[in-house]
């Protein structure tokens, strides 16, 4: 049973426009959410996170929104740049301190077109 779902395997966006990546979860015990970016043959790189006590967190071009009642979060990238082309993973943690590991979605491949 998939607890973290990224329903779009790929997304194509024009350079300069907004990219919106979506993630849904089913486990109501999750209280901390993260987004990672991954290039081929490299490890994932941490992008941004949000605690369940917030509904928005912003860091430069990246903003994460959390809707707890809908069990939905999204990552907005604006403006999109060619270097943003990568696979993006949504992840969630149920234990304070993250000591039990993260549950990841299957990823969305973002392609930024010139």
């Amino acid at each position: 049973d998939q607890q973290v779902k990224q329903n779009s395997p790929s997304l194509s966006v024009q350079e300069g426009r907004i990219s919106i990546l979506n993630c849904d979860y089913t486990n109501s015990m999750f209280d901390y959410f993260l987004w990672y970016k991954k290039y081929p043959a490299e490890g994932p790189t941490f992008l941004i996170s949000i605690s369940s006590i917030k509904d928005k967190n912003e860091d430069g071009r990246f903003t994460v929104f959390l809707n707890k009642s809908a069990k939905h979060l999204s990552l907005h990238i604006v403006p999109s740049q060619p270097g943003d082309s990568a696979v993006y993973f949504c992840a969630a943690s149920a234990l304070a301190g993250g000591a039990d590991g993260l549950t990841f979605g299957k990823g969305t491949h973002l392609i930024i077109q010139p």
Partner: protein, 110 residues
């Protein structure tokens, strides 16, 4: 800057061989993790450790074991490698919820 290093970027092994994947972090983190990443499946947790000599099974521990003799080092062991263990192996460490990953080891089992 957090640094997580993995002993090999690419590895080719034969079926039945014992395989050791090493991971070292330099940030004095308590928690360390091993994941594997396969196309279309995302990252799946194999084992994790929250202290020296402590280990916990993740979602897919079968066919693997781990060792954590020192805080900075976490080893993943494939006791008898099989072709279905061909994958990208990723090590991570964390002190809170945010995990920091190494570059990964791409393992091919023939």
């Amino acid at each position: 800057d957090v640094k997580v290093t993995q002993s090999s970027r690419y590895l080719v092994k034969r079926t039945g061989e014992k395989v050791f994947l090493e991971c070292v972090q330099d940030m004095d983190h308590e928690n360390m993790f091993w994941y594997r990443q396969d196309p279309g499946l995302g990252l799946r947790l194999i084992y994790f450790s929250y202290d020296v000599k402590m280990k916990e099974k993740g979602d897919i521990p079968e066919g693997y074991s781990v060792s954590r003799e020192k805080k900075e080092r976490f080893s993943l062991i494939l006791e008898s490698a099989s072709t279905n263990q061909t994958s990208m192996y990723l090590c991570a460490s964390s002190i809170q919820e945010t995990q920091y990953f190494g570059p990964g080891t791409r393992l091919l089992v023939l």
